[in-house]
Subunit: 363 residues, 2 copies
């Protein structure tokens, strides 16, 4: 069964006329945790109060959820609920951790130059995105307008297939974070929609802004780290060896395969296993300057591209030069009405759910 | 009297053992608004519930606060209270709106090239910062560590004197913001602390990250737009003429002078009047792609530099080449124990309060 007792991802749902609350997915049902476990922390409109409790509480709740799911009580068919943004996002950070993606973009955007900037192999490059425009899977995505540099709707609307890491336990400002598993609750799928034409004009010298801030989609279900034990692998080897603060303490590479479907056709299946920077390194870097963490912080991996399997259309179509063939048409960038669905699985076949969105025309 | 009845900035305070609540500064006192006006919205630990009410409510509260202040009731000496971060910051955006600052940094960082990038006169360049590291004036600032590119404490710790604009009324995701004065409640002073060595190594190609995210200080008092009527001026002329969505509808240039004191010595007095992009243009740009607004969003102007009066040490010392003379010493960048205080006034002598911070050694 998909979404079996070894999975049990967390989300926020509501039934018609009822308030939002926390549930766990079991097959095609949601287990009503507030009802099943009788705890106030689950009668909340986001996962944040539960996330703040920390790993011991997360593990205890997971054990009790498994018992309740096995008992079969308090299960509501998914068809009877609406799923909501699971996390009240505090700060949203996006990294750039795929060697293939960074190299491809370097070749496309700066032909004739060394594809990677000098810093790339020394630190996980990242930047802050807009927390307020993170939306749940299924939310329609309005095509943004902006300077391309002439003003109008983006003509180069793209996707970025990513993994997102959800922070539960805070770290104080001025201090440093501890171990990855002491702060991070779990993993979401993320589509960091990108307007390449807006981004190309605006991003020098301070980075992406309006080319990204119109919407970022995340999956409705957050997979707890405990469910990913079987997927953990050594991270990709790194040269040069990273500085001590970036040393991997324990394996947080993840053997996952993503699948990108465009209007129902699979266009790419990037492997997360090949990412250059692992999420524990991202967390260590993010906080080494004393930035601190808050419950609800979300940091994403950046586009997951592996050899021959890119995580964005700009790579897949080589900046529009090589359109993707669909059954009855081709695509360079996204057209109005297009639907993109990103799914992911472990090599053992466990699902990480999906993040999906359909493009609405510009207004 | 400083902070007279024409000023009345808003903040959040507490007395020993009592919860945080909203007050208005009157001279050297704080007017306890919850007690004076008897409204729950002021018995809150941040201004956000009040900010969400919108301009009509803001104007009505201002009138009633003025009456209460004139009556002299519910006034508590500032010496008896602690001031807190006034706003629960949703998203923090930093612009780059001073022609002198952008030109100076171009000359310093890219000598021999055209100082301004091609986009600079066409849009207010901006990027997202870290909302979770915004702290109230007076909070000590821990010197950050990071890759410079060798690892260690920043040796080029700098300030950026800015104005910050606090959003009250939200705009929906996918839509556009209305008029500046329909969304923005008021103005704060901001010091966007910057580790120049960390920033220089990390910022290509995705912009500033750890070089900024360790701390951003804001004033404890937010000056409502109504108090700044006398400071409003036409914005600086722009060439080329901006695109229609950036057209100024009504004057939101502000005739303010900032003063930067380093260990009690004034080192620069930049004029805000000379900023190239006005805050109404920043808001229009920020939301033109459908990014939306949330109550508590903070967007800052970027460093306020005017001719001969820069708003950062990297400009004032020309990247350390021309140290600033203090009575008994010199400075290139900040040393441990240094205190920076930024104040601002209208040409009529009305104060916008201060933002201050002292550097603690790295840990």
């Amino acid at each position: 069964m998909s979404f079996g007792l070894g999975n049990l991802p967390y989300g926020v749902f509501s039934r018609a006329g009822e308030p939002r609350r926390v549930g766990v997915r079991v097959g095609d049902h949601v287990l009503d945790l507030a009802a099943a476990l009788g705890r106030d922390v689950f009668a909340a409109p986001s996962l944040n109060p539960f996330l703040a409790l920390g790993r011991t509480a997360w593990q205890e709740a997971r054990g009790r959820a498994r018992e309740a799911a096995a008992a079969g009580d308090h299960l509501i068919p998914l068809t009877e609920v609406t799923l909501h943004l699971p996390v009240e996002v505090a700060d949203y950070v996006d990294f750039y951790a795929s060697l293939e993606h960074a190299s491809n973009l370097g070749r496309i955007l700066r032909p004739g130059e060394e594809p990677l900037k000098p810093n790339w192999r020394h630190l996980p490059v990242g930047y802050h995105g807009r927390a307020g425009s993170v939306v749940v899977s299924g939310t329609p995505i309005r095509r943004p307008c902006g300077q391309r540099p002439s003003f109008g709707p983006s003509a180069r609307l793209d996707i970025e297939a990513e993994l997102g890491f959800v922070v539960g336990v805070p770290a104080p400002l001025g201090g440093r974070a501890g171990a990855f598993e002491d702060h991070v609750f779990g993993v979401a799928l993320v589509n960091d929609w990108s307007a390449r034409d807006i981004q190309a004009w605006e991003y020098v010298p301070l980075g992406p802004f309006l080319g990204k801030s119109f919407a970022t989609s995340m999956s409705a279900w957050i997979t707890p780290l405990e469910a990913l034990e079987e997927a953990r692998v050594e991270g990709r080897s790194q040269d040069p060896e990273p500085l001590p603060y970036l040393t991997r303490q324990t394996p947080w590479g993840l053997d996952l395969t993503l699948r990108i479907d465009l209007n129902g056709e699979t266009v790419s299946t990037p492997s997360y296993r090949d990412m250059y920077w692992t999420p524990d390194q991202m967390l260590a870097h993010l906080t080494v300057n004393g930035a601190g963490l808050r419950t609800g912080d979300l940091f994403a991996s950046g586009t997951v591209s592996s050899a021959g399997q890119p995580g964005s259309l700009i790579e897949l179509t080589w900046n529009g030069a090589e359109p993707v063939k669909l059954p009855d048409e081709t695509r360079t960038f996204l057209e109005d009405g297009d639907t993109v669905t990103i799914t992911a699985w472990t090599s053992h076949g466990m699902s990480l759910g999906e993040v999906s969105g359909t493009i609405l025309p510009a207004t």
